[in-house]
């Protein structure tokens, strides 16, 4: 029975990123490289956070300090990967032969690096939990909620998608020199991360509902930044997807 719960949680948290990876990333080696590179940058952010936490822990700092600095480190490294990718653009142009979309549409790079951040952070936050979900027991003997695995997976999924949206929005803001989306990315990241501090007191809904609300806002904003609008949505709902063939021939 516990194995069912394990697979349910794994599909829930990693199903959407898996679909996104297989259908949008895997076809292009350049995208895979960028995904891995951004994942590596997130890992560097994690390393910095852990070092800071090592020091902070000896000073008996509250966990809030760790969370805040971890978010700031992640955003710092998002900025660094942005700089790197913009620098590498020239080189990328030489490498790409078949797919020029990645050069012409800057949002693709942003999306790939955002997903890279999301996948790696989701993996790190959920793998240990999933490993323990294989059974035979479930959480709750000491008074914890027995929906722990479900809520952990939902939170993880939320963060993976958020990172993707944040990535698009962040890159767009830097490209356009707009500060409002930049501030939104950092503050919403801080907000959602701090919300998870309520989990020990089992206020799971109080974490998950606002987190998903932030996700909806950020995702819509990011989609808008990437050029989507009601008109474009309407257009593709009515027309036949003949464009596919065109793109492949490109």
């Amino acid at each position: 029975m516990a194995l069912l719960e394990f697979f349910g949680c794994a599909f829930l948290a990693f199903g959407p990123p898996l679909a996104m990876f297989l259908l949008t990333i895997a076809k292009d080696p350049i995208r895979i490289i960028i995904l891995i590179a951004s994942a590596f940058f997130w890992l560097l952010a994690l390393l910095m956070s852990s070092l800071l936490w090592l020091v902070a822990n000896t000073l008996n700092s509250p966990i809030v300090v760790g969370v805040v600095f971890s978010v700031l480190f992640q955003e710092l490294f998002r900025y660094l990967i942005y700089l790197l990718l913009r620098k590498a653009e020239v080189g990328l142009k030489k490498l790409t032969e078949s797919d020029t979309a990645i050069i012409t549409n800057k949002n693709i790079l942003a999306y790939v690096s955002g997903l890279g951040f999301g996948i790696i952070s989701g993996t790190f936050s959920l793998v240990n939990v999933l490993a323990d979900a294989t059974g035979p027991g479930t959480v709750g003997l000491h008074g914890d909620s027995n929906l722990f695995f479900l809520t952990s997976s939902l939170t993880t999924l939320c963060f993976i998608l958020l990172h993707t949206a944040w990535g698009v929005l962040f890159f767009h803001a830097l490209d356009m020199k707009k500060f409002l989306p930049l501030i939104w990315v950092v503050t919403s990241h801080l907000l959602v991360s701090l919300l998870t501090l309520m989990n020990p007191s089992q206020l799971y809904l109080a974490t998950i509902l606002p987190a998903y609300a932030v996700l909806v806002v950020t995702a819509l904003w990011a989609a808008g930044a990437a050029g989507a609008s009601f008109t474009s949505l309407k257009k593709c709902l009515t027309s036949q997807p003949t464009t596919v063939q065109v793109r492949v021939e490109d």
Partner: protein, 701 residues
């Protein structure tokens, strides 16, 4: 260049120091899910020539919903309603009985059993109502002296151990644990697990989540001893990391030839050695829970007191009648006389105490069965209400008139020296109760011997080979005094047999203090000053723990050898001669097959400087001859064929088990999300050109 390297090094060192210095305490979710329970003793698997007995879990452990059975009603509910099988049943010790176990075993609803022993605030165990024994009604009958003759039916109609329910020899396909819990703390299993989650309210089954328990006690061995040994040999050939699956039960017999004799003075006369023996082992279902207070220790402690007394008059043994006295402690007697059958086997082959070799000058002369003049065995001796002892003899050997008259002499000399005891010879027509002597009579019916015990018919020991055979069940104000009297009687009888017409000097008395500290060390607290004194303070046993007397296996962990080691040193002390030499000289003395030198008593808290004892204490293998004989017929029942399975670990943990509805819902939810996300992503991807038209801003950039 060097400077840069050094800076690098320093940085690296600082870095590593930072990592090492910080206490990295990762809390895993495991701690939210599971709670380990450590104070457990597990049932395990043993095999003989034809069967397997004991318990085993599956390799990953047996999991069941916890259900406490305290009354008949709980039983009925479990068997008739109980919808959440498999269950692990918590039983109070008093309900851990054959009929209940068999009901549970046959119900098919049980994945394991936990005997929950809740000690009250005084740490006084409420032991189950006697009588209670897990051995057979006729212990060791199949390898005993009477297995093929007319006397074998005697025990069927007059069982020695009527309380024996033979649970020890039952094969369970699930694990059984014995878990101690003090009521001082809140009971984890009862309060935090069963009462909180699982108790049916007025017969209505509880709702999920339920508290479940995992019992892990997987046994590698199966079927029977020959199968297991064969598989082990095969494994040794084929497996890159070979391991046996089972090991023969075995330990050491400990014996003291009171007088040191050398083979150079020629072989000893026939019928010139008195043997005094007792057993030092008992058994129970659970690993580590075998105190054997009356089963083994009363007789053993008496033998130690006798050794102490004989040591005071050993030079009065002139050799006219008696050349030597052997004091023997047998091991493994609970499992078909392992120790005694091996010693008898070695004696018939001329290998006792050690095979003679020309190149070794200091060896004891060979002792064979023909050298035995008398055999006195000490059985269970705890006084039960009166100060009576019973003298059991063997009717088969007494058919012979010489043996009969010798046995009568032995009985008479014991009765003559009985002191305050009442010594009653049991009718000559009644066969011997289970006794090591049977192994020797099986080889040679000309040995005149008897068994001294505290029972005439059935055992007065109500907990024969049971985990509850502890000090509590035999404790009485006159216990050590009674044992001292038995020791006195036997010693005086030996004195008289060695010096006919003479009586033991009145200044030789049994050492009651020695008896009391022996009983304390073996039955109450193995971290006692006597043991610490014997081992120069290196006793290393937790206060309050009691060393198990189960024979154990010859391979591997030393848990069961701890007792033999201490017993050997104790015998060396009481039977040895203190020498006036220092520690270095003592350790470097000529240890040989006659003498061994023991440095004892260098014990700080006793402020004692240590003494060197020269002692004749020896040990011999107590492993069944069946494992020595090539092509032994395992089904023959000639010798003990018991082996013990190997296992990796015993573990117990409790956790919550989610309802299957919840698990299925989460699974379905996950699959739906997975499929939906593929569909949505595919749609967005195929429409991406329309959905995300290149914005004028991006182009501008």
């Amino acid at each position: 260049m060097a400077g840069i390297l050094n800076v690098k090094k320093v940085c690296w060192l600082l870095f590593s120091a930072l990592f090492l210095a910080t206490d990295l305490n990762g809390e895993r979710i495991t701690e939210k899910i599971y709670q380990r329970i450590d104070d457990g003793f597990s049932c395990f698997r043993r095999l003989n020539g034809t069967h397997q007995i004991g318990c085993s879990s599956s390799q990953s452990g047996n999991v069941g919903v916890v259900h406490y059975v305290g009354t008949k009603m709980d039983f009925d509910w479990l068997l008739e309603v109980g919808p959440d099988a498999p269950y692990v049943v918590l039983l109070p010790p008093d309900l851990f009985r054959r009929e209940n176990l068999m009901t549970l075993k046959n119900s098919g609803k049980v994945a394991g059993i936990v005997v929950l022993n809740q000690t009250d605030t005084t740490f006084h165990n409420p032991s189950p109502a006697p009588p209670y024994s897990n051995d057979l009604t006729c212990p060791n009958k199949i390898t005993g002296l009477y297995r093929n003759d007319a006397f074998s039916s005697y025990c069927d109609s007059n069982p020695w151990n009527p309380a024996g329910d033979a649970i020890l020899f039952e094969d369970f396909q699930f694990p059984i644990f014995f878990i101690n819990e003090t009521k001082l703390n809140q009971s984890v299993l009862l309060d935090d697990c069963y009462l909180k989650f699982n108790r049916p309210i007025e017969g209505t089954p509880p709702s999920y989540p339920l508290c479940a328990i995992e019992l892990k006690a997987f046994m590698w061995a199966a079927v029977d001893t020959p199968t297991c040994l064969r598989r082990g040999r095969l494994n040794m050939l084929l497996n890159p990391q070979p391991s046996e699956y089972c090991d023969p039960l075995g330990n050491v017999n400990i014996f003291v030839p009171v007088l040191a004799a050398n083979k150079s003075s020629g072989p000893i006369r026939n019928h010139s050695v008195i043997f005094v023996s007792a057993r030092m082992d008992s058994a129970s279902i659970f690993d580590g829970l075998s105190v054997g207070a009356d089963t083994a220790i009363t007789g053993m402690a008496t033998l130690i007191a006798i050794a102490d007394m004989i040591n005071k008059f050993k030079f009065n043994i002139t050799g006219q009648e008696i050349e030597n006295v052997f004091l023997v402690l047998f091991n493994g007697e609970a499992f078909d006389y392992i120790g005694s059958s091996r010693m008898a086997y070695d004696m018939t082959l001329g290998k006792f105490p050690k095979p003679l070799k020309d190149e070794i000058p200091s060896q004891s002369p060979l002792i064979g069965l023909e050298h035995v003049k008398y055999w006195i065995e000490l059985g269970s001796l705890a006084p039960h209400g009166d100060n009576k002892i019973y003298l059991h003899t063997d009717p088969k050997s007494r058919n012979d008139s010489r043996v009969n008259s010798n046995v009568m002499d032995l009985i008479n000399v014991l009765i003559k020296n009985k002191g305050n005891l009442t010594a009653e010879p049991v009718s000559a027509s009644i066969p011997l109760p289970p006794a090591s002597l049977q192994s020797f009579l099986k080889k040679d019916l000309s040995i005149p011997g008897l068994l001294i015990s505290n029972h005439k018919g059935a055992f007065t020991n109500q907990f024969y080979n049971n985990e509850w055979d502890t000090i509590q069940t035999i404790s009485s104000s006159k216990l050590s005094k009674h044992l001292a009297e038995v020791a006195h009687t036997v010693s005086a009888a030996i004195y008289e047999l060695a010096n006919p017409g003479d009586t033991m000097p009145p200044n030789i008395v049994a050492n009651v203090t020695l008896l009391e500290s022996t009983l304390e060390c073996y039955l109450v607290n193995a971290n006692c000053s006597l043991f610490s004194w014997l081992l120069n303070g290196r006793n290393n046993i937790a206060t309050g723990s009691i060393l198990p007397t189960y024979v154990g296996v010859t391979h591997g962990d030393g848990a069961y050898k701890a007792l033999s080691l201490r017993t050997r040193h104790l015998l060396a002390m009481v039977s040895g001669d203190p020498l006036d030499i220092n520690k270095t000289a003592c350790i470097n003395s000529d240890h040989n097959e006659i003498y061994h030198y023991y440095w004892m008593g260098e014990y700080e808290s006793n402020n004692s400087s240590g003494t060197c004892y020269r002692s004749t204490v020896k040990t011999s293998h107590a492993v069944s001859p069946a494992f020595e004989i090539e092509d032994y017929d395992w089904a023959s029942g000639e010798y003990s064929s018991w082996t013990e399975s190997r296992w990796e670990t015993f573990s117990v943990r409790i956790f919550l088990k989610a309802s299957s509805l919840q698990a299925v819902s989460i699974f379905v939810f996950g699959v739906v999300v997975l499929l939906l996300s593929f569909a949505v992503t595919y749609w967005v991807e195929t429409n991406s050109a329309l959905l995300f038209p290149p914005s004028p801003e991006a182009v501008a950039c």
